[in-house]
Symmetry: C2
Subunit: 435 residues, 2 copies
């Protein structure tokens, strides 16, 4: 048996405490699997006095995470502080610079500095592992980096934010408004007091940027992600989706296109029969389309202390076994600069909800704005009955589903319809994603 | 760049030819990922003349797979011959004995000789990898062996045989008999001329035995799997399942119980809302229940040349990167001898379909046979109308759903009901599996 593998852990929130618990609970099995005894020898966190339900009596306490990262008595530095910059960045940089392997759950850090940190890890022969940064307990990083090594990946997409999925699931199931569901999610601790990071799609965008790099062998580029949140989704949209055989999910989608790599986060209509449509509540799911494996879907817990800790511990176990995977699968020098595909060139179907003045011929006039741009309509529904989806008095909702068209063309058609003066409100549109 | 990694491949069926194609198609990416050029240098197959759509001009041909396995010019031996014994066993044994790493898709070989081969691999410091042996392109072996290293696994179950799932899906969707769907599957090439291995559940049992060892750290024991096939499933069962909110799937289930490890393969009623119930046609799915990650489901292609080759190539890439995972996750000496839990102690709900003589009080008399053994019934439906599920004239189908009970008790109740003389046919029962 080799010497114990000594862990220094910075950040003792829910995930940090769970990592310590899991390492203890699975100590014998992990020793057997890795031929190393894994021991947390030092920690760092803000509040020294707080009871975290774990025994820290034999563990050295450092106030400064950077000092912990540089600690000579630590073999692996685990960063669970969070934040794209500040102490998390300083500590991971310090650990890697000292040739110390790092495990992190920090998607924001990776989205912003992943390429630079991977280069540093490579130079120093250290591991930089981040299974926990995307989709919690789902081993999606390992799957993309190792499990699909023989594939050319065409698309990776999924439900990557439990808060948004919880809100959309509740809106659909309980026929509640976005505001009511958000308030409920905040009460239950599923959403932050400032929910922008989640409901605005930014959390999903960070995770998607990581998946894109792993899937396509490209340099991580979070700036290139087109981001829209779920704030604009009305109950009327979910009800119309339901009638038409769809559900609305906040998806992160990365796709290889003739115009480059498309990275986008937005509310998306998915057929009810699709795998991602089945994913309700705080569960996450990722689907990969690839040339050899065709379609692979992983479904599991996207958050939670123990589920996220499961991913952290798997990374630690790999490092303990001596595995040194390249952070993004390829050497940093081989990661291609991804040409971002502009959203205007996005090709896909669209759901459109218009609030039209209730005049004879309104729907026909609107439809002609699509026809003159060669946008084919799969369905057009104009509702005169009051109730569901109803707008102001004297208006009627018109729901359109288009066949595949370019986003630029679609936006032009909508602008023309607005200019015609038939619409009482700004048009709503939601992109459709098919399996 | 190191020397090329030289592959010797035995068995040039659909999967073998796909492995050669994938290695060529992804050659540059694989070289970048592994820092080794991967080259197929020698092959062995029965029919030298057959056109397989791959260029074998520069490849050495050996007639004897054992000679290929021992070939000094080969670094990794890939076994795609098939069969639990014979040339596959001889060749893998020869390769490992020579310290040569092996990749195989051969579930029958592993189910029967996995422990012995893993011991040999360990002694010789060679890899023995078999991602392709279970669930085709789904990276379930890697997930269990590495991705969930921090978990204690409680249950692993799934749809592991595409032939059976295709037949059951078609029976349900098209309201066809088992015999008609089997004939159709044979016409389409989804089922063999002798379908016993698939429809009898034996293929699933081999795969389950491998998953059990990986999940629970136990010595592989395919003999301990309780196996029932789908031949007994009638359209009446699928229709009753549908009405009651269930689907019927052939599941392989391995579970940690107080009485030992339960390994069973049988037609199973699963709630329509469950992940495995969504899996239709030739798709496979595996769900894992574990203490930290709770529930994780992987869905993908269970068979097919390219999907299976994807798994073979991922194994080759891991070996090329220098990774030497223990075949079953733990050293062979640490694999526990699993105490098999007897089926008589199985605890679960049951669906029961009885063909009762249409006499007053038949259903009540049958129900009392359950009541006197403290078996609680969730529902009891006696149909007097003709049509669906109807048996011989003068009989009426009775459908029962029980709450959790022991299999022994259930069987006793059914025997008592048979002895009462109320039943015109042998009772049908199907175990219920819940998420």
């Amino acid at each position: 048996m080799s010497n114990p593998l000594r862990i220094g852990l910075a950040g003792l929130g829910t995930v940090g405490a769970s990592v310590i618990r899991l390492l203890k609970r699975q100590a014998d099995a992990l020793t057997s699997r890795t031929a190393r005894r894994i021991e947390v020898v030092a920690v760092s966190a803000r509040d020294r006095g707080r009871d975290r339900g774990v025994d820290l009596a034999d563990v050295e306490w450092l106030d400064d995470p950077v000092a912990l990262a540089r600690h000579e008595g630590v073999d692996i530095f685990v960063e669970l502080i969070g934040g794209a910059d500040g102490p998390a960045l300083d500590a991971v940089t310090a650990a890697l610079a000292a040739g110390r392997s790092c495990v992190t759950a920090n998607k924001a850090l990776l989205a912003k500095h992943g390429l630079r940190l991977a280069r540093l890890a490579e130079e120093k022969g250290a591991a930089l592992s981040f299974e926990a940064s995307v989709a919690g307990g789902i081993p999606i990083v390992k799957t993309l980096r190792e499990g699909l090594a023989g594939n050319q990946i065409e698309r990776v997409y999924g439900v990557l934010n439990g808060t948004c999925n919880y809100i959309l699931s509740r809106m659909e199931q309980e026929r509640l408004s976005f505001a009511d569901c958000l308030a409920e999610a905040q009460r239950l601790g599923y959403a932050e007091a400032d929910p922008t990071f989640d409901v605005g799609g930014f959390d999903t965008a960070h995770k998607l940027a990581i998946l894109t790099s792993l899937a396509f062998g490209t340099a991580i580029d979070a700036e290139a992600v087109n981001v829209e949140g779920i704030e604009s989704i009305r109950l009327a949209d979910l009800e119309a989706a339901d009638e038409l055989g769809y559900r609305v999910k906040l998806l992160g989608v990365a796709r290889r296109t003739p115009d480059g790599i498309e990275q986008r986060v937005h509310p998306t209509m998915v057929p009810k029969s699709s795998s991602v449509a089945q994913v309700m509540g705080v569960t996450n799911a990722v689907t990969i389309d690839a040339d050899a494996v065709h379609e692979l879907t992983l479904v599991g817990p996207g958050a939670g202390g123990e589920a996220t800790a499961s991913a952290v511990v798997a990374d630690i176990a790999d490092i303990a076994r001596g595995v040194r995977s390249k952070p993004f699968g390829l050497p940093v020098a081989a990661l291609a600069r991804a040409e971002p595909a502009p959203m205007q060139l996005h090709l896909g179907g669209y759901y459109i909800r218009l609030c039209a003045f209730d005049r004879p011929g309104a729907a026909a006039a609107i439809a002609s704005r699509f026809a003159e741009r060669d946008i084919s309509l799969e369905s057009i529904v104009q509702r005169r009955r009051p109730g569901v989806g109803a707008g102001p008095a004297g208006t009627a909702p018109v729901i359109l589903i288009t066949y595949a068209t370019h986003e630029k063309t679609l936006r032009e058609a909508l602008e023309a319809a607005v200019a015609d003066g038939f619409l009482a409100e700004k048009p709503q549109f939601i992109r459709i994603e098919r399996e």
